[in-house]
């Protein structure tokens, strides 16, 4: 029965396509791939203000994602924000004097931790601590400035 | 042959059956016996409830009063599983054929075999071709139901009804839409199924000629009552006006050709209100 065979094949293709779609959504669209990541080690960084940083926010170096934020807590003694960063083991050669900054991707984009390697010969190890940090830019201020500036520009544009 | 049907020897017995649809009483306290191994015919004007009776016997409709026993079991008190296993031994030829429209003739006849048996496909093929041969449609096995004429569809449905070699078959107007040749063949088929397999047959039909030729016993129903019963001979010689009108096909008599309505002239002359 040729007819039935074609139907079976098409159903098979359909199911395969659907599952591929689900797989695509899981691995390519969502953050699932970062859970299944290979071994990682954790370091901490203290910020005066961690802004809108969240658990699972990306950690990148030179624009490439190398890990993610796994915890943020407030230290009542120093009044600082203690951020735990989980870094992929393959990047285990970050110098001890690496600096961590909190940046925003785009103006309204999410915040992420950017690491800038220093020049030390000693590398950060699991449980290590980043000494030099730069806090988040306070978004509200930036927006205020931006809106103010663009309003001014528009007003000037109208005058001309 | 016995003059009256003995309840001891009947496969199906209907006792004091009353059935209503809305406000109309379709059956009003009727009792019938259908003897094992015999062909019992039910005749009656269109719309009296012959199809309804078959559906009641098949357990698809529930009576308001009375009981229907098949093989000494009350059909309407059976558990679902028991009803289904009983139905496996009952064939029914629907008035409309009721073929499954998404399969061809072959698969339609094979359907009950595939659903209820675990026979290998080669065996099923043999059985299906035998049944199709019996109704003269072996050559039409690859046609789809929409490619069949009404009469052909009915014959395929008959082949399907006998596929499981049931103990009884209910035929709902098997001869309608058949040409004289296939009518003759069907009469022969029904008769021989009955004789060779010892089937019990319940046959609904309007065809006086064919029915009197093969039936062992005939019930004539009209207006919810049994108006006549007996062997074909008795029926033919019946003095009952009802039966005579039916057998001779006279338009006038106790049975009216017209569905109950108000007076024709009154109706025509009454206001032109649209319905």
């Amino acid at each position: 029965m040729q007819h039935t065979n074609t139907q079976d094949t098409l159903v098979g293709l359909f199911v395969a396509a659907g599952i591929a779609g689900l797989f695509f959504l899981s691995m390519q669209v969502s953050n699932l791939s970062s859970f299944t990541e290979h071994d990682s080690y954790t370091i901490t960084a203290r910020f005066e203000n961690s802004g809108g940083l969240k658990v699972k926010s990306p950690v990148s170096a030179a624009g490439v994602k190398i890990g993610q934020v796994t915890g943020i807590r407030f230290d009542p003694k120093t009044y600082q924000s203690v951020v735990s960063l989980s870094i992929d083991v393959q990047y285990n050669n970050l110098p001890e004097d690496t600096t961590a900054s909190i940046f925003t991707a785009g103006l309204l984009g999410e915040q992420y931790v950017s690491l800038e390697p220093g020049g030390s010969d000693d590398f950060l190890k699991n449980g290590g601590n980043i000494e030099i940090t730069q806090s988040a830019i306070i978004l509200e201020k930036a927006i205020g400035q931006f809106l103010f500036k663009s309003a001014e520009e528009k007003a000037e544009g109208k005058k001309k | 042959m016995d003059k009256s049907v003995s309840p001891q020897n009947s496969l199906v017995s209907v006792r004091h059956l009353t059935f209503t649809r809305g406000d109309t009483k379709i059956f009003d306290d009727i009792s019938m016996e259908f003897e094992r191994g015999k062909i019992t015919a039910i005749m009656g004007p269109s719309g009296t409830g012959k199809t309804t009776l078959l559906k009641l016997i098949g357990g698809q409709l529930f009576p308001n009063q009375g009981i229907i026993n098949i093989d000494n079991k009350n059909v309407h008190q059976l558990r679902r599983a028991d009803l289904y296993s009983l139905r496996k031994r009952m064939g029914m030829l629907f008035q409309s054929g009721a073929l499954l429209t998404d399969m061809n003739v072959y698969d339609n006849v094979a359907f009950p075999l595939r659903e209820h048996t675990h026979l290998p496909e080669s065996m099923i093929r043999t059985l299906v071709l035998m049944k199709l041969q019996a109704v003269g449609l072996r050559g039409a096995r690859n046609l789809m139901p929409n490619e069949l004429s009404g009469g052909m569809a009915r014959r395929v449905a008959l082949a399907r009804a006998i596929a499981l070699d049931p103990m009884m078959i209910m035929y709902d107007e098997p001869f309608t839409g058949q040409d004289p040749i296939s009518k003759g063949a069907l009469v022969h088929l029904i008769k021989s199924l009955n004789n060779t397999l010892g089937l019990t047959s319940i046959m609904v039909s309007h065809d006086v000629q064919e029915t009197t030729a093969i039936a062992d016993y005939i019930y004539v129903i009209s207006g919810g009552k049994i108006v006549g019963q007996g062997t074909p001979q008795e029926i033919k010689q019946s003095t009952s006006e009802w039966v005579q009108q039916f057998m001779t096909g006279a338009a006038d008599g106790p049975v009216h050709f017209h569905y109950p309505a108000k007076d024709y002239v009154d109706d025509l002359l009454s206001s032109g209100k649209r319905y």
């Binding site: 159903v11 359909f14 599952i19 959504l25 785009g106 999410e110 | 359907f111």
Partner: protein
């Protein structure tokens, strides 16, 4: 006048309740009937074909266009704020959480649901269901349950395809046409779309929609008046009731799933 109105209202209310009762009973039978489908995958496969495969084209093409429109509109809106990097997030979130499950379910109701109702209704009108019962074959198990299961399984697959194709469509427009950085499109998306909260919830939504749409379609067919007019009315009711149920349920599900974020 008033009395008449109240009478009609009462009658209609009672009719809706008895119908709901029948529908519930039907659902229970259908769901318990699915157990007997599993040993016969061929029945399911055939229905997956007519329910799933035949909906494939309309779903993927619609998904592509919806994604492209989202890419275009999203870009215009976001670029005003200099946030076009987040286009991927916007496109993916809209699709995965809402548009994927909802639009594909609406299309499914129109494409497959109406066909199911018409098919079952006609089977009833031509006494095929009744005939099956007399052959001791339960039409619920043999006809309804496989179709129900096929609808239930196809819906999440179709919704996933819709979203996936849409996200690619958004990327084609966003980075292909409008110059959003491709890397940013994907990485921002990955950072913000949560597997648990977004993908799983989206799949759950489409399972619920598949369940409800198949239920409505099959019940309306099974419960239809067995005439051509009755079947055509039932088909219309399937599309209308499915649309209402999908949109109403979507609101409830969204409130439950994404509410306390």
């Amino acid at each position: 006048m008033m009395i008449e109105f109240l009478q009609t209202l009462g009658k209609n209310t009672r009719a809706s309740f008895t119908k709901l009762g029948r529908a519930t009973f039907f659902l229970i039978q259908t769901v318990s009937g699915t157990a007997s489908v599993l040993p016969r995958p061929r029945l399911l496969l055939k229905q997956m074909y007519s329910v799933g495969v035949l909906s494939f084209l309309i779903i993927t093409i619609s998904g592509l266009f919806v994604g492209m429109v989202l890419g275009l509109q999203g870009y215009y809106t976001l670029s005003d704020f200099g946030a076009e990097e987040t286009l991927g997030v916007m496109v993916a979130a809209s699709l995965v959480r809402e548009l994927g499950p909802v639009v594909s379910a609406l299309l499914f109701a129109g494409r497959a649901g109406s066909a199911l109702t018409a098919e079952i209704g006609l089977m009833k009108a031509t006494e095929q269901l009744s005939g099956m019962e007399m052959m001791a074959v339960d039409p619920i198990k043999r006809i309804i349950s496989p179709r129900f299961l096929a609808g239930l399984l196809s819906m999440p697959l179709l919704a996933a395809l819709f979203s996936a194709v849409g996200i690619i469509g958004g990327q084609l427009v966003g980075s292909g046409l409008l110059g959003v950085d491709e890397g940013a499109y994907w990485s921002q998306m990955q950072a913000n779309i949560d597997f648990q909260d977004d993908i799983i919830n989206g799949v759950l939504k489409s399972l619920v929609f598949g369940f409800v749409t198949s239920w409505i379609a099959l019940f309306e067919g099974y419960d239809s008046v067995p005439t051509s007019e009755g079947v055509s009315r039932a088909t219309t009711r399937t599309v209308v009731n499915s649309a209402f149920s999908i949109l109403g349920l979507d609101f409830i599900l969204t409130a439950l799933m994404f509410g306390d974020d």
